[in-house]
């Protein structure tokens, strides 16, 4: 007898048809890979980070492979919120995709501008704030490293929207739990854990950093054990907080691990680069895992890690 697996999950008040989302910056704006992975088949798609106006991004080279991972320094190149609203969102809406818009800015006002523009559109399920951005007002310290900046930012945006606000935390924050607490206290509906790890790869022959900006962000399977650790630590500290787990998910079993560590949903990033159907396959493998293991509702897994 085959178990019928309930895949739907809940991130705070938002219901997702399954717990697998495509991660920001790895799935374009949601439509680029429809022939491999229709966005409406996923729990959701998180768009490339949007800013008030288009941005050209960083000089090249921007990427380099590292052992079981990669470093990127894209520099948040994007088409800007206006182009997204007019050229992309209508088609996503029509397909019935659950769209989470990733938002960033160099000032609080920039975040606000993006959110305000999107408030005029239907078909946005949630905002995800990328707070790994240098806060120009605070001497370039990242919003996500400083609980008080983050508090201000989230409170301000909270007033602008009733849609769910997810705050995507940087694993480079010296005190992640303090940052998480600040975001939750300021009204965040969920925390996305984690963004990329600050890292360095060197071209030994050229004696130069492998990406043009020097440091970049490490992603991929290499970081999975670090991301899982952080998700579990935040889950233990804030058991009621809805978490979205991310970092190195390649397979359905990886997704299960994040759910067990306390995430209500997971995002798949770098995996899409090696396989454009990765998100879809993670959904299928997650379902197969549940069937094999007799898990009838995927939500049973959430936080189910038996610690010691």
């Amino acid at each position: 007898m085959v178990t019928v697996v309930q895949l739907a999950t809940q991130v705070g008040s938002l219901t997702l048809r399954n717990p697998v989302l495509a991660a920001s910056g790895t799935f374009g704006y949601g439509l680029e890979l429809v022939d491999f992975c229709p966005p409406e088949a996923l729990g959701g798609v998180v768009t490339k980070g949007l800013s008030p106006r288009p941005r050209a991004g960083n000089p090249t080279p921007r990427i380099v492979e590292t052992p079981a991972g990669m470093i990127n320094s894209i520099g948040l190149q994007n088409i800007g919120v206006e182009a997204f609203c007019t050229q992309v969102l209508p088609a996503l809406r029509q397909r019935g995709a659950t769209v989470v818009v990733n938002v960033f800015g160099e000032t609080e006002e920039e975040y606000a501008t993006v959110v305000e523009r999107l408030e005029r559109e239907d078909g946005v399920a949630a905002y995800e704030l990328n707070v790994s951005c240098p806060n120009v007002g605070k001497g370039g310290m990242e919003f996500g490293h400083d609980p008080s900046s983050l508090d201000l930012l989230v409170r301000m945006l909270r007033r602008l929207t009733r849609r769910p606000l997810w705050v995507k935390l940087s694993p480079n924050a010296p005190h992640l739990l303090a940052v998480a607490e600040a975001a939750l206290a300021a009204g965040a509906d969920a925390l996305t854990l984690v963004n990329t790890f600050r890292a360095l790869a060197i071209d030994a022959k050229k004696r130069r950093p492998a990406v043009a900006t020097g440091f970049g962000g490490l992603s991929g399977p290499a970081i999975k054990p670090l991301a899982l650790r952080l998700v579990w630590e935040v889950h233990r500290a804030f058991p009621q907080a809805p978490l979205v787990g991310i970092g190195g998910v390649l397979t359905g079993e990886d997704a299960v691990e994040f759910l067990l560590a306390g995430a209500c949903a997971v995002q798949v990033g770098t995996a899409t680069f090696r396989n454009p159907a990765a998100c879809l396959e993670v959904v299928q493998q997650l379902q197969a895992f549940c069937q094999r293991e007799g898990v009838e509702d995927v939500r049973e897994l959430i936080g189910g890690l038996r610690w010691r």
């Binding site: 890979l33 022939d35 080279p61 990427i63 079981a68």
Partner: protein
């Protein structure tokens, strides 16, 4: 347009071409078509090392009773290319393609000249075969560091319906000098477009020459790629307006006139 797809393929043959280069044939069970200048992303079917697939230009596509055969010419430079060189025949690999925008052969004006440098040969060879088949006359310049790094000279000659000029930096075969210098020397007024692939300095020189002769050049660029399908923005090149576009989608073949001077 050719439909891109992701399929397991079999390493059907391998032939050593030079101290650093070899040719491969990949057998695709499913359909696959490609135009010259398009590329594929190739990787192992399992495992996280390498994590990402690697881009390779298609050097040719043939039919066999068991499926489509894709020809690649590969230079061993690192992890995956050295794996490809040692992998037993019959091994499975994973192929995503065809990808990108190739040479604009149909809109090519009267007399193109083709230029290849080093491991830039594959798309140029494919273009040569295609142009010959369509009966469009062209000349071809192909340069390498030295005679034993010149790949498949017989096949290059056979694929060319006009002049096939070989050059080596050290003069050990054909003309001596950089291929772009030789091209400049032997330039024909009739040349109405350049189609080129090779190392970046060579392509800069080609673009320069094209500007001087007031012809358009189509350049096949090589940027590091993670996804090959336009979603990572890792492979961007700069256009003359300063904007960055993914070379895996808008390219890898660009019109020199679109590009920034140092893309």
């Amino acid at each position: 347009m050719e439909r891109r797809s992701d399929q397991p393929v079999i390493l059907a043959s391998r032939q050593e071409l030079s101290p650093s280069c070899f040719a491969l044939e990949l057998l695709c069970p499913g359909p696959l078509t490609a135009t010259p200048g398009q590329f594929i992303m190739l990787g192992p079917t399992a495992g996280a090392d390498p994590l990402l697939r690697r881009p390779f230009s298609v050097a040719g596509v043939g039919e066999s009773p068991r499926g489509v055969l894709v020809q690649l010419l590969v230079k061993e430079v690192g992890k995956f290319t050295s794996l490809l060189r040692r992998l037993p025949i019959g091994s499975e690999l994973s192929l995503l393609g065809p990808l990108g925008q190739g040479f604009r052969l149909l809109e090519a004006p009267p007399r193109p000249v083709l230029v290849a440098g080093g491991i830039g040969l594959p798309p140029v060879l494919f273009a040569a075969r295609e142009l010959s088949q369509r009966g469009i006359p062209f000349d071809l310049f192909y340069g390498a560091a030295s005679s034993h790094e010149l790949l498949l000279p017989q096949e290059v000659k056979r694929a060319t319906n006009g002049l096939a000029v070989f050059c080596t930096d050290d003069g050990s075969f054909g003309e001596q000098g950089l291929v772009t210098e030789v091209l400049r020397r032997l330039w024909q007024k009739s040349y109405s477009r350049i189609l080129a692939c090779g190392p970046t300095p060579m392509l800069y020189a080609v673009a320069q020459l094209a500007r001087e002769r007031q012809v358009e050049a189509e350049l096949s660029l090589e940027e590091p790629m993670a996804c090959g399908v336009g979603v990572c923005l890792g492979c961007v090149v700069r256009l003359h307006d300063g904007s960055y576009v993914p070379s895996c989608q808008a390219g890898p073949v660009f019109l020199a006139s679109q590009l920034a001077e140092r893309w």
